[in-house]
Symmetry: C2
Subunit: 465 residues, 2 copies
C-alpha cells in the first residue's frame, strides 16, 4: 500500500518547473561558491570597520561602506532611510572580582549589559545571592535580597538541538533580571552569559528596566560562563563572600542614523516587494561578523547573484540593511512605518540573523496556504543539504511588517556554535567560514528566486504554475 | 490525488515502534549533550598525546590510553589486536623556496607527502613545469618534463556541496603524481594542497609510487594553497624560475602496533556483531582531532551512551579503533582477515572518519532491501536535524569487511570546513566543537541502537517488527 502511494505521489509530479528551477538554483549556488563577494565584503565590515553599535562612528562607516557597495552593483535605486537611534556607550571596560576574604580576590571577566546604568564611580561591592529563576527570586523576597547583588545563574539547556530554544529559555535573566531584582532592593545584577560553552568571554546584550523608576535602576553586567561557575562554587563554600564590579556605561541622546536600501525594480509586478535583509548594527565587543555582518553581506549578495546569473525579477527585489536591531529595533520599526504610510505591498520578507553557518533551512511565519506552497519547493533544496522548512519566527527587523498576507521567513543556519560568539569579543571574522557564508547567501537567493517567480498565495499578482 | 496518497501513507503508519524508539533516541541525545565524555577524551588524545602517525610513540600512547578508557567503561571484554604497521618518518621539517632570479628567493610552506622519499641531502633545485592533470602531463611528454619538478596545481572544485567529491576529484595528483611524473624523467613533484581555502598550511597525505622502481622514485611534497598561487603566478611571469626543496623523510622497517577493541556481548544473538569505529592513527602535522580522533572518541562514546541509558543490546556491540588507516590500512585489513578466519558474523559496521562536525546523515553501502529498511527510520532522526540517508561509500577501515550481506555505513557530518584541517597543522582540538562532536556520537549510537533492535535483512536473527 505504502509503495503504491509513493509511486502515485511520484507520478503526480512536483508543482514547480523542475528543469528550469533546478538549473537556476544550480547557477545560483555555483556562482556563490565560485565567484562569491559576500566574504570579502564581510572582511571589510569586520576588519576595517569593526563592531557597529548604534550611534557609533563604526555604525556610520558601515552605512557609508554598504551604500557604496550597493551603488556599485548596478541596482535600479540605492538610498539611505533616516532613522533616529539610541546611543548607549560602554565607556571603560568593566572590571570585577570575587572577594572571598578581605584582601583575597579573584578577578572575573564581566561586561556591562546594553542599556545598563553605571555603577557608582568607585564601583559597587556587596554580598551576593545566587538564583536560577524569577520564582526563586520571589521566594527569597526582600529580606534575603535587599542590599545585595543578585547573581542569575541558570545555564542554557544543553539538550536542545536548536540552540535558539536554549537562548529563549535563559535570556529573561538578562533582559529583565535587573528590573525584577530592583523590586526587592538589590543593588546590582550579575548574569551568567548566554553561552552553551564554558569559556572566559562575557556576552553582552540588551536589557531593559521596564517600569523601574530612574532612581531605582541598578547596574547589570554579564559574567563569563567560567566566571559564573567560579562564583557559584565560591558562594557554596561561603555565603558571606563579596562581589565587586565597576562599569561606567551611559545612555546619551538619540542620534541620526540610517537603514541602507537598494532595489531592482520588478519587470511585471513592480508594486509587489520582496525584501531580503539583515541588521547593520552590532554589539561593540567583537566585530559583529556573525551577528549580523553575515546577514547583511548575504542579503546584498542575493541581489548580486540574481543579477549575475542574468535573472530578471518580475517583482521588486529590495535589500534592506536595518540599523539598531540590537538595542531598539528602530530601523525595523521605521522601515515598516514608512512602508505602511506609502502603502507599499510587501509580499515576502526574508531575514538572515542567526549567524553565517551552514544553512539548514528556513522558518516561516505565514498562512498555511503559503507554507504548503513553500513545502513543494523543498526537493529543490535537497541537493544543497537544506532540509528544514518549519513554521516559526522569522527575524526581529522584518517582524514589524507582519500582516495576514505577507510571508515572513528567517534563514536557519546550523546553530551549534552560534552562542559561543553571539554578543561577545569572540564574534569575529575568523570564525566565519567562507563556504558556509556563501551557501547561506545562495540558499536565500534561491528562495527569493522562487517567491519572485511563483508569488505568494495572497499576492495581488498570484500566479499558478 | 497527492493529498489522498499522503493521507494513506500516514495511515499506513511507520514501520518502527514509534514511542519507544523516540524515547530511546531522546535519551541518547540528551545524555550525549548533557553528560558526554567524548570531548574530554579527545582533549587528552589531542593535547596530551598529539599526532599519532603509525609506528610513532604517540600512536602507542594512544593505544594505551584508549584501552585504559575502554577498560573503565565496564564492557564485557577489551583487548588489543596485534597489527604490523609501516613506519614512515618525516624527519626535519621540509623547506622550500621559489628562486625567481639567482639570489632572489621567496620561501613557501611545504611538507613531505606520506611515503615519499627524501630529496638529496643538500636539497633539490630545478626548473618547474605546472600541470593540472595527467592528460596535460602526457601531452607535454619527456621533452618538456625531464630534469624538472612537476607542479600539480588543479584546485579542488569549489562548486560541489559535498566537499569529499572535490577531494576525490583532485587527490589523484597527490596519490599518483610522483609515479606519473617519474615516467617522464621529472626529478621531483610539488602538489597543491587538498584544501578548498586559500591559506598557508601545507596538507600531507598518502602517496605511492606504484610500479616505479626504487631507483626512479622522486621526492613529492605538498605546497600550501597560497604557496601554489604564488608559484603559479611567478611561473606565468617567467617560465625559467627555479624551485628548491629539501626534505629528509624515510621509510623504516614495519613495527608492532594494535587495533584497540572493546565489546558488549549480545543478550539474544551474541554471534551477530555490530561494529562501530574510527582510526586511531593520524598524520603527524596537527594533533589529528578531526581525522580521526573525533571518530575514535565518538565510537567509544556509542557504547558508553547505550550502557548509560540502560540499554541491553541483543547483538554484540563492538568498538574498534583501527591502526594505520592513513598510510597502509593494515588495521582494517588485519581485522577483517581475523574476522574471516574466525567466521565471525558482522551484520552492521559504522565508521566515523569525516570529522567531528554537525552530523547531517549517513551513507550506506548495502543491499537495496537494507537501505529501504533504514529509510523507514529517517523520521526518527529528523528532530535531530539529521536528514541525509544516501547510498555511497562507508569508511576505509571497515571496507575490508564488505560482503553481500553486511550493512556498511559512514557517518556524514557537515563537510564545509573539513578540508581546511585535514592532514595539516590546522587539524587541532580547538577546531572541534563539543556539541557538534556530541551530536555525532548520539547520531551514531541511535543508528546502532536501531540496527541492534531490528537487525539487518540478511542477519541470521532477522526480526520483523
Amino acid at each position: 500500500m505504502k509503495y503504491l502511494c509513493l509511486l502515485l505521489l511520484l507520478l503526480a509530479g512536483p508543482s514547480w518547473s523542475q528543469t528550469e528551477d533546478k538549473a537556476q538554483l544550480k547557477a545560483i549556488y555555483d556562482t556563490s561558491l565560485s565567484q562569491g563577494e559576500a566574504y570579502s565584503w564581510l572582511n571589510y565590515l569586520s576588519n576595517q570597520i569593526g563592531g557597529r553599535l548604534s550611534g557609533s562612528v563604526q555604525a556610520e562607516q558601515a552605512v557609508e561602506y554598504t551604500k557604496k557597495k550597493l551603488d556599485s552593483l548596478g541596482l535600479d535605486r540605492v538610498w539611505l532611510q533616516p532613522v533616529m537611534v539610541p546611543k548607549w556607550v560602554r565607556g571603560a571596560p568593566a572590571f570585577a572580582y570575587i572577594e572571598s576574604k578581605p584582601g583575597i580576590t579573584s578577578n572575573v571577566p564581566i561586561c556591562a549589559l546594553g542599556g545598563s546604568v553605571a555603577t557608582p564611580l568607585g564601583g559597587l561591592k556587596a554580598n551576593i545571592v545566587e538564583v536560577r529563576s524569577f520564582e526563586e527570586l520571589d521566594r527569597l523576597g526582600r529580606s534575603e535580597i535587599e542590599g545585595k547583588i543578585v547573581f542569575y545563574n541558570r545555564p542554557m539547556e544543553p539538550a536542545n538541538i536548536r540552540t535558539f530554544e536554549s537562548y529563549s529559555g535563559a535570556v529573561d535573566q538578562r533582559s529583565s533580571g535587573a528590573a525584577q531584582a530592583a523590586k526587592y532592593g538589590a543593588v546590582g545584577v550579575i548574569v551568567r552569559s548566554m553561552n552553551l560553552r564554558l569559556d572566559d568571554f562575557p556576552h553582552t546584550g540588551a536589557m531593559n528596566y521596564g517600569e523601574t523608576p530612574l532612581d531605582k535602576r541598578i547596574p547589570a553586567a554579564a559574567i563569563s560562563t567560567n566566571g559564573a561557575e567560579l562564583l557559584s562554587t565560591t558562594l557554596k563554600l561561603d555565603r558571606e563572600i563579596k562581589f565587586y564590579f565597576k562599569q561606567n556605561c551611559r545612555q546619551l541622546q538619540d542620534v541620526q542614523s540610517y537603514n541602507v536600501i537598494g532595489e531592482i525594480k520588478g519587470s511585471l509586478y513592480p508594486d509587489e516587494i520582496i525584501l531580503v535583509g539583515g541588521h547593520l548594527d552590532s554589539w561593540d565587543l567583537g566585530d559583529g561578523s556573525h551577528d549580523d555582518g553575515a546577514g547583511c553581506v548575504q542579503s546584498m549578495e542575493v541581489l548580486r547573484l540574481l543579477k549575475k546569473i542574468g535573472y530578471k525579477p518580475k517583482r521588486t527585489l529590495r535589500v534592506v540593511l536595518f540599523m539598531n536591531e540590537e538595542n531598539g529595533l528602530r530601523g525595523g520599526k521605521t522601515y515598516a512605518e514608512i512602508a505602511e504610510n506609502k502603502k507599499e505591498n510587501h509580499v515576502f520578507a526574508l531575514e538572515s540573523d542567526s549567524g553565517g553557518f551552514t544553512p539548514r533551512g528556513f522558518s516561516f511565519d505565514c498562512s498555511q496556504a503559503d507554507f504548503n506552497k513553500v513545502a513543494t519547493w523543498k526537493p529543490l533544496f535537497e541537493p544543497y543539504l537544506v532540509h528544514s522548512f518549519v513554521k516559526g519566527s522569522s527575524g526581529a527587523d522584518i517582524g514589524p511588517l507582519k500582516n495576514d498576507r505577507i510571508v515572513l521567513a528567517g534563514l536557519r543556519p546550523d546553530s551549534q556554535r552560534y552562542f559561543e560568539h553571539h554578543h561577545s569579543e569572540n564574534d569575529v571574522f575568523e570564525h566565519v567560514n567562507k563556504r558556509e557564508l556563501e551557501l547561506g547567501a545562495a540558499t536565500m537567493a534561491s528562495l527569493v528566486y522562487l517567491f519572485d517567480k511563483y508569488g505568494t498565495s495572497a499576492g495581488s499578482a498570484q500566479e499558478e504554475n
